[in-house]
């Protein structure tokens, strides 16, 4: 009787499982792969497969927090890799992992007193930047509809790589997603205004924002517009009024 029932339930179970997997691509493969097994150990692997994945991820996240307080950067990286493998659809974990690597660990590497050679300190710092970027890129791969991660990657390009083109691109991508803060669009235009050769496009976008009304006429926006008007040699009659300066 149970076997007959098993045959009956199989198609329904399979269809449901496929629907789950199509909604969360990569999650099923990640959860059963040997990589995860190696990362979290036997007990953790069984726990992850027994419906305690979220709680296990939280437990590891708390451990990572403690490791951060103790400035054990290798351990922070190791634990965040486990956390993000267990819960790839929680943007917060990707964002935190990237922040720890690109901001905290990189600053610690640069101020490392035990390393007298500046070149090696800079190298270590850049490696942490790259780790942060990698976390955010993989986070975006797993959560393509979350503006928070695009925004974090844009900030990383702006502040750590000084790459205004990519920063503008990712602020723009964040702005295009539902639920994004309204300043993402403006930030994208600001970043573009710092890019050599992209000034006319930047001016067009900033001017469009300016024309939207008083709400958008913020001091930075006006400052960037004035800068571009000067750089592009705009005739006085085409410039925004001076009183806005």
């Amino acid at each position: 009787m149970l076997l007959a029932f098993g045959v009956m339930k199989l198609p329904a179970e399979r269809a449901l499982s496929l629907q789950h997997r199509s909604r969360s691509p990569g999650q099923f493969a990640d959860i059963v792969n040997l990589d995860l097994h190696e990362k979290i150990g036997q007990l953790g692997f069984v726990a992850a497969l027994s419906g305690f994945r979220a709680m296990l991820a939280d437990f590891l996240f708390i451990k990572a927090h403690v490791a951060w307080e103790r400035t054990e950067w290798g351990r922070v990286l190791f634990l965040f890799r486990q956390v993000t493998t267990l819960q790839p659809h929680v943007p917060l974990f990707w964002d935190m992992a990237a922040w720890h690597m690109a901001w905290n660990a990189s600053a610690a590497a640069m101020n490392d007193q035990s390393q007298p050679r500046l070149a090696l300190r800079v190298k270590a710092q850049r490696e942490y930047f790259a780790l942060g970027k990698d976390f955010l890129e993989r986070g975006i791969e797993n959560n393509p509809d979350k503006p928070q991660l695009y925004e974090a990657l844009a900030r990383l390009y702006r502040e750590k790589f000084n790459d205004h083109v990519r920063a503008s691109e990712f602020f723009g991508k964040a702005a295009a997603l539902p639920g994004a803060p309204s300043y993402d669009k403006r930030f994208s235009a600001y970043e573009l205004s710092y890019c050599e050769g992209r000034e006319p496009e930047a001016y067009e976008r900033l001017r469009a924002l300016y024309d939207e009304g008083e709400k958008e006429r913020l001091p930075t926006l006006i400052r960037r517009l004035k800068f571009l008007e000067g750089k592009l040699n705009f005739p006085p009659e085409q410039r925004i009024p001076d009183k806005e300066r």
Binding site: M1, G6, F52, H89, V90, L92, P181
Partner: protein
């Protein structure tokens, strides 16, 4: 017509009233066993974790609060379903209550249904209480963070304040959580029905509990076994037969783990929720049927 004959005519083959009587009796019995202490454990865990999480940002705090609360709710309800159901039939046999009931014109399936509904009612009450506690804690924390944000950003550009408040609301309480909680309930009901089936042939409640804990773990791996079996990835025929048995006999408990997605902010489509609920009801019906089948053949 004699009184006996009239009474026989009045006796109905299926009586919701009789089932209801057994259901209420089962619920009262379980309540006297202090099973609601799980709510106390849940409350203490919530309060404890709230105090511990003071060191985190509000996004981290809400994420952990939701994960832990829903995870603990799932574990406690599953445990409650298994432990409460496992003791029903063996206890009735031990107390000889079952003979008193079945000596009356009560069909065995009504007895089983009454017992099962009693446990389901208990699960519904427990999960409702835990949910209320969880929602209240999350709501209060969310309000506290919103007030704190309003206080800190005292003279904000409207846009910044909106973004800050929106971030709190996105991380906080969402209606989707209720769908996740409903799925936790279905999973617990499924486990109760399966435990009832196991307890029809188990001689002691300890045996039923051990079997069910094993089923719980295997059930979460069933989907993996099924995929390997169907995709012909097993090595030899022994492994193939073993995987087939796991896939056919055990329920797919992984299908009921929608909570992780809900907490991650992924909305559950109505169709997916309905299919999961239907699968749960299907399991419950089949396991209850199997329990009835075995129980009818049991010598009492």
């Amino acid at each position: 017509m004699s009184d006996a004959a009239a009474s026989a005519v009045r006796h109905r083959a299926f009586s919701p009233a009789r089932i209801f009587a057994i259901t209420t009796n089962t619920l009262t019995e379980l309540t006297r066993q202090k099973v609601f202490n799980v709510i106390l454990i849940f409350g203490l865990l919530l309060i404890g974790s709230s105090l511990f999480m003071a060191r985190f940002s509000f996004q981290q705090e809400f994420q952990i609060l939701k994960d832990v609360s829903l995870g603990v709710m799932s574990i406690l309800s599953s445990l409650l379903a298994i432990v409460a159901t496992a003791r029903l039939i063996p206890q009735d046999i031990e107390d000889r209550t079952i003979y008193t009931i079945l000596a009356k014109p009560v069909p065995r399936f009504e007895y089983l249904l009454g017992k099962l509904f009693g446990v389901l009612l208990l699960l519904a009450i427990s999960i409702a209480l835990m949910s209320a506690l969880f929602v209240a804690v999350l709501y209060l924390r969310e309000q506290a963070v919103l007030n704190e944000t309003l206080r800190q950003v005292s003279r904000p550009p409207g846009e910044q304040l909106d973004a800050a408040l929106n971030a709190v609301r996105v991380a906080g309480l969402k209606i989707d959580i209720l769908a996740g909680i409903a799925v936790i309930f279905f999973k617990a009901c499924l486990l109760a029905a399966l435990t009832l089936f196991v307890s029809t042939f188990a001689t002691t409640n300890i045996f039923a509990i051990i079997v069910m804990v094993s089923v719980y773990f295997i059930g979460h791996l069933q989907a993996t076994a099924r995929e390997y079996w169907l995709e012909q990835q097993s090595a030899g025929w022994i492994a193939h037969v073993f995987l087939a048995i796991v896939a056919l006999i055990f329920p797919d408990l992984q299908a009921f783990n929608l909570v992780d997605e809900v907490v991650a902010g992924v909305a559950i489509p109505l169709a997916l929720f309905a299919k999961t609920a239907l699968l749960g009801l299907f399991y419950i019906a089949i396991y209850t049927l199997a329990a009835t089948f075995v129980f009818y053949g049991k010598e009492l």
